[in-house]
Symmetry: C3
């Protein structure tokens, strides 16, 4: 069975996501369609790209991802297929594909659209039917032509400055955990004592799990993407520590 996985900013209160699934199944009735999330903040292309980056590797090879955070729908931006990491990514060429563009084959989508294409819902009219076709094995070349200049966005990455790692909070999850972009790989290039600073908040150790501290207390752990995560045990770091997306996080080694 072919898997089609969806990331959008459509929310679930309208019929939009359901209708996209109807179109995919009209083209490929045996597709297995999985929601990654539809709660990307509206029009936040970078947030969509970061979500894609955190999730795609956990899906099987050959999965077809449809990634629609598309404020420019109906305008000049191009619809594309990205073939990368043995998976396929379909969506607008507005930078949302940035995390999977490295070494990728990219195709402009020129065919495979629904007959009537609206100017406001290419998720349904272009990306869904093309995902159905690709998941059925239709070759990219039948759907369009190769391009070499996809849009690349700056994804916030940590910087190393001497013995400091300067990163930031890139996501607050629904638990109120603050996810940073400081990975274990970068951290482990240093040794010795350190302090982690987010504004006035300081951590002198990275705990093994949330439950290493008392309920209600702040804790710094390696999170699920193996980056530094600031949490409050059984509570919300966003609320209790007043941290938010974009806040600077600095690790200073002795």
């Amino acid at each position: 069975m072919s898997i089609v996985a969806l990331i959008t900013d459509f929310g679930l209160s309208d019929e939009y996501v359901g209708v996209m699934k109807g179109v995919i199944l009209s083209v490929n009735p045996s597709a297995s369609i999985i929601d990654i999330t539809h709660s990307i903040p509206r029009h936040d292309v970078i947030a969509g790209a970061l979500c894609l980056e955190r999730s795609f590797k956990y899906f099987p090879e050959k999965t077809v991802f449809v990634v629609v955070v598309d404020p420019g729908v109906g305008g000049e931006r191009r619809p594309i297929i990205v073939c990368s990491s043995r998976r396929v990514f379909i969506g607008p060429d507005n930078g949302v594909m940035t995390p999977v563009l490295d070494g990728a084959d990219v195709f402009l989508i020129e065919r495979g659209w629904l007959k009537d294409v609206s100017s406001t819902f290419h998720g349904r009219d272009i990306f869904a039917p093309v995902a159905g076709l690709v998941s059925k094995g239709v070759s990219f070349k039948k759907l369009g032509r190769r391009i070499h200049d996809p849009v690349v966005l700056r994804i916030p990455k940590p910087e190393v400055k001497g013995t400091k790692i300067c990163g930031e909070i890139i996501h607050i999850d629904a638990f109120g955990n603050a996810i940073t972009n400081i990975s274990k790989d970068i951290f482990e290039k240093f040794t010795g004592a350190f302090v982690i600073e987010i504004g006035e908040i300081k951590f002198y150790k990275i705990s093994k799990s949330y439950s290493d501290v008392e309920v209600g207390k702040p804790v710094c752990v390696w999170g699920s993407s193996f980056t530094l995560e600031i949490a409050v045990r059984d509570g919300s770091a966003a609320d209790k520590l007043d941290v938010k997306k974009g806040d600077k996080v600095v690790v200073k080694f002795d």
Copy 2:
């Protein structure tokens, strides 16, 4: 694989929708179950009907739709199967099926229920098992008898008065876009200059896409259902223009 598509006002925070799926799969383990939406405003039968109208044609033929917006559950209203447009629709006979009743075959559901039927959850006890049976190919006649008087509700339609089209906003989507019931078909019966009025707001043109205007500016486009849609680029028309469901929209031609 047989497709069962769900529209309800149950929300996703309780186990209700999941349990309906469990029942469907207990009857037909190979059903592919798709959520259209579960966020129809509570007890809003017209909103459910409009959602059904906007979505069903995008699903394959033979799809079995379960549409449960059912404030009269457990009372006198009848459970029905509607066979229409080469698709099947299962739910309460309270008018939610109005958009698919034209030329339809309608059956009262008399059999196929769970053994214990509650008075509060026919989605689980009647509609889900019957959807499982229908999706497996059980004939309608085995499940009940034909009826000829299903409940029809008045769906708000635009009226043409001389050179004016008088419609209304029928839905505010999660982006804050205001969807009207004025279709391209009706609009194109007229020619010449026009003004579109929603209260004090006026549009003199229909833009090709949201990105035809600057960020934060109002724009009128043909929306995803090919009806007039009032939007704000990268923003919410509902918030910025203070428009809401039920507001009158008038197109005046010269």
Copy 3:
């Protein structure tokens, strides 16, 4: 097709649930994955247990349930498989499995994990891959060893005191209906006139359905779990009657 059903407190706004599904499908591409709910109140293990209790019997035998309400993730609590009622339940050993422990076979999960196990997301790293394996038919014994001391939590049960049944509200659903733990089975052990009291609110009868009363009026019915439910017709009992989870409900027989 093997069915995997999910209950978590992860919400749907992050990619967490989608990523769990990606892992399950990576292990068992033909799994049919169903969401029961992901809106268990954060870290509320009892609420998760009650949701499981209300839902599991509506799923086919052999369904594999993944139940992740797991405030102790990464700490000392054990990951377990519970084999009970001809179904399988996978999750943390923190009491969330209480409703299915009676007469169950319980196994500690020692193998079948992802290669890199985070300390914050065992839903993805332990429970999802093990669910994939179990749904493919891998025997429990290959995944771990039998244990005999799973954690049991006190689930609130009604007490009979003379001619009184003393229960409580155990859940407010998204409609605002107040679900109690007083079952029809217990109620029917008594006969004669009765009064149902929730604080100052009194009911002298159990109605057949919501529509037995006028719109906006309070009504007491047998709810979908065949326990007493306090509702307001076409409205919210939680809002209009000011009732909440934990409120005492007493049935007094003459």
